[in-house]
Symmetry: C2
Subunit: 414 residues, 2 copies
C-alpha cells in the first residue's frame, strides 16, 4: 500500500491562473463574451514541484515484457509510477517514483463525486540511437495547467514536471519497443483528494503519471474510418469546458459513441447548433482538405479554438507543418467555422479532397465517409484507398519529428 495520499482539507485552493477564453463565435446571434477569469493568487508563496527532491523506490518485482504484437492501448503498465501530492497549506510535496500500485482513497474523496480530474496524453519514442524522446511536452504541460486551473486544481512549473517525466521515462526505458510505430504512452493525471462532500475547491490533490507501452495504431497501414454526424447530443458549448482535457468531457460521450458503433460507425462527428457546425471527432480534432467554392484554391480547414474545441497538440502540429510545407505549394491553411452542409456541397461538387482526424493515438486517422441526415457524405477516398495524400504526408512528417529522424525543437531528448 502506498503512503497515505490524503491531507486535511479546507475550503480554499492555492495560486493558479485560469486562462481567458476567446469570445465564442459559435453562439447563435451572440455578442456575449464567455470568459472564466484568472483566479486570485494566494498571498503566501507555496512550494512548486522540485525535481531535485525526487525520491525513487524501485520495484523488487519487475514485470516481464509483453511481446510487441500483444500490446493493447492503456491496458498494461510499466513497473513504476510518478506521484506528487499537493496541499493548499504548503503546495507541492516531494516527487516520488514508486512501484506501480493501487491508490488508497477515502470514499468521500472529491474525485469520486464532483469529477475533480484532468489528464494529458503524450508519448515517449525511442530513436535510432536508442535515445528516448518526448514530443512537444511543453504543449501538454501548458494544457494540463489550463485544465487544472479551470476546475480549481493547482498549477505547477511545466519544466519541473517535464524533467520528472523524463527521469521516469528513462527508468522505464526497457518497456519502449525499438520498432517504428511503437512508443510509451504517458498519462499524467491530476485528481482532487479532499475527503469531504462539501462542493468547493479541493484543499489537496494528487498528480500521478502512469505509462503504457503501445503499438502502432494501424499495424498493417491506414484503415479509413466512417463517422456519424451527431446532433442529438452536444459534446461542448460556449462558456463550458470542451476545450479542456477534463474527465467531465468524456463519460457523457460514451452512450452516443455506442449508438454510432451500433450503426456501424467508428466515431461521432460532433455538430454544434442549428447551423450544424463541424467541431471535432470522438477523441480527435477534425481536418478537411477541399477546393474553395469561389476560387478553386486548395484549403486545409479545421474548426477554430473558440472554447468548444480541444486544443490538440497534434492539431497544432498539423497546422504548423501545413503552413510550413503545404502553403508554399499553394494551399490555404484555414482555422474557421464550417458547416456539415458545406462539407456535403463540396463532396457533391467533387471539391472534397480528403478528411482526417488528428490525435496522439493515431497521429492522423483518415475518414472515408460521414453519415448525415440519412445520407452518406463521401470524403474523397477512392474505394481502394485507405488514406489521402495529405493525411499520409502528415503522418510521415510528424513521425519523423517524433522519432528524431527530422531533428527539430518539437522533440525533447530525455
Amino acid at each position: 500500500m502506498m503512503r497515505p495520499l490524503l491531507r486535511r482539507c479546507a475550503p480554499r485552493a492555492a495560486a493558479f491562473v485560469a486562462p481567458r477564453r476567446p469570445a465564442s463565435a459559435f453562439f447563435v446571434q451572440a455578442a456575449r463574451q464567455y470568459s472564466v477569469k484568472a483566479d486570485v493568487a494566494s498571498e503566501t508563496k507555496l512550494q512548486d514541484i522540485d525535481p531535485s527532491q525526487l525520491v525513487i523506490q524501485k520495484t523488487t518485482n519487475p514485470k516481464p515484457l509483453k511481446q510487441a504484437k500483444d500490446l493493447i492501448f492503456g491496458r498494461n503498465f510499466t513497473d513504476h509510477m510518478l506521484t506528487i501530492e499537493w496541499n493548499k497549506e504548503s503546495g507541492w510535496q516531494k516527487p516520488h517514483i514508486v512501484p506501480y500500485q493501487n491508490l488508497s482513497l477515502d470514499p468521500a474523496t472529491c474525485v469520486f463525486h464532483y469529477a475533480f480530474e484532468c489528464f494529458e496524453g503524450m508519448k515517449a519514442y525511442k530513436d535510432k540511437a536508442g535515445q528516448i524522446r518526448l514530443f512537444r511536452p511543453d504543449k501538454n504541460m501548458e494544457r494540463f495547467n489550463k485544465s487544472a486551473a479551470r476546475i480549481a486544481l493547482p498549477n505547477f512549473n511545466s519544466t519541473a514536471l517535464i524533467d520528472l517525466i523524463a527521469q521516469f521515462t528513462r527508468l522505464e526505458s526497457r518497456f519502449i519497443p525499438e520498432e517504428r510505430g511503437y512508443s510509451l504512452y504517458l498519462r499524467p493525471t491530476m485528481i482532487g483528494t479532499q475527503k469531504t462532500l462539501g462542493v468547493g475547491p479541493p484543499g489537496s490533490a494528487l498528480l500521478f503519471v502512469i505509462a503504457s507501452p503501445v503499438g502502432p495504431y494501424y499495424p498493417t497501414g491506414f484503415k479509413a474510418v466512417s463517422l456519424e454526424a451527431t446532433d442529438y447530443a452536444v459534446r461542448a458549448w460556449p462558456g463550458g469546458v470542451g476545450d479542456k482535457k477534463l474527465g467531465a468531457n468524456y463519460a457523457p460521450c460514451i452512450v452516443p459513441q455506442k449508438e454510432a458503433m451500433s450503426r456501424g460507425f467508428q466515431q461521432n462527428l460532433w455538430l454544434f447548433g442549428e447551423d450544424e457546425f463541424v467541431t471535432e471527432v470522438g477523441t480527435m480534432n477534425f481536418f478537411v482538405a477541399m477546393r474553395n467554392k469561389e476560387t478553386g484554391q486548395k484549403e486545409l480547414l479545421t474548426a477554430p479554438l473558440d472554447g468548444t474545441i480541444l486544443e490538440g497538440v497534434t492539431r497544432d502540429s498539423v497546422l504548423s507543418l501545413a503552413r510550413e510545407r503545404l502553403a508554399p505549394e499553394g494551399w490555404n491553411i484555414v482555422e474557421r467555422k464550417f458547416t456539415m452542409r458545406e462539407l456535403d456541397e463540396a463532396a457533391q461538387d467533387g471539391r472534397l479532397i480528403e478528411a482526417f482526424g488528428s490525435g496522439t493515438a493515431a497521429i492522423v486517422s483518415p475518414v472515408r465517409s460521414i453519415s448525415w441526415r440519412g445520407k452518406m457524405v463521401h470524403c474523397g477516398l477512392k474505394d481502394h484507398e485507405e488514406s489521402g495524400e495529405i493525411a499520409t504526408k502528415m503522418k510521415n512528417w510528424i513521425e519523423a519529428r517524433q522519432y528524431g529522424d527530422d531533428e527539430h525543437e518539437w522533440s525533447y531528448v530525455c
Copy 2:
C-alpha cells in the same frame, strides 16, 4: 483493506435504459430534438441487486459520536459503508456492509480519467417515535438510474437498493440525532472501475453508500442569501447532461463559484443564452413568487425540466405541495422559462414577492437579492426579514413529512 474492487474489463456494458430527453425549449430558435436514446439491452439476463444476499461485517472499532453542534456537512462519516460491485459478465454481486474504509483502485481506473461517476443526495430522519424515515427514496433511485444510464454505468432495481439503504441506515441509527433539523445525509455513489485507458463503456462498476450525520442548515433560523447572475460561464446546455446528477456537472462550476464568493455572493444564479433565461442556483433549483404582469394573479414560477435543469426531488416536492395547498388559495403554479429581465421588471414594479432555492441540504434557501448587469435586483424581502412566507411554509410542510408529523406516502419508514 477492502476485498479487491476491480474486475477484468471488456468493451460492452450491460442492460440499462437511458431516458428520452424532452426537446429543448431553451435552444435559441431551435426545432432540433435533443435525445440520447435508450441503450440496447444485453442478450443475457444479468443478476440484479439482491438484498437477501447482504453480508454484514460490523466494525470492531465503533467511532465516538460527535456533539450535535460540531457536525459539519459531509465531513464525518458513520461506522460502515454499503458496497455492491457490478461487472458486465454477471451483473450485480452480493451486497456488503463493511467498516467505513478507503477504496483501493488501480491508477488506470476509468473513474479517475473519464469521470464515470454519478451520485445521489438524500437524508434519513428520526421521528418522535424513534423510527428512521427516508424521504421519497424512490425519486432518488429513479434519478440515480437515469444518471448512471447516461454515462454507460449499469442500472439496478430501485426497491432492492432502497431496502439495502434502509438496512444500512438502521445499523447506523445511533448516528442520527433525535432533535428536529438533524438527519443522516446519505450519499449513494456509482463509479466506473474498469482499469484500462481506452475510452469506452466501463466493464465493471462499484456502487457504494456512505453516510454523514448533519445538523440544520440554518441552526439559528433562515439567513437569506445573495446571488450573482452568471452569464460568462454556462453550467448546462441542451443535448448535454445538466439534468443528471453526474460528477461532470460539478467541478466546472467551482471557479465561477469562487469568483461570485470573492465579490460577496453566496452562489451563482446560472443564466442561459442571449435571452438570459434563469435556470438554477449553484446546487439548488430556483423558485420565484410574483404577481402576473397582466392579471395580477400570484404565481410560483420555476424553470421547466427541459434537459438543462437538475430534476430536484425538493423541487418536485415544492411544486406538488404548492399545487395542493397554494393553488386553492389562488396561486398559479407554473413551470416555464423566464428571463432575468422579467425578474428585474417584477422587482421594479413591486410585483416580486419572494425568491428561494430548493435542495436536499437546506430544503429551501431564501434569496435576498441578485446582482445582474451591475445592479442589484431585490427579491421582495424587507431588510429585517430573512425569509418570505412561501419559503417558510414550504420548509415547514416538507419537514413535517420528512419527520413523519404529517404522515404521508413520501415518507418511507425503515
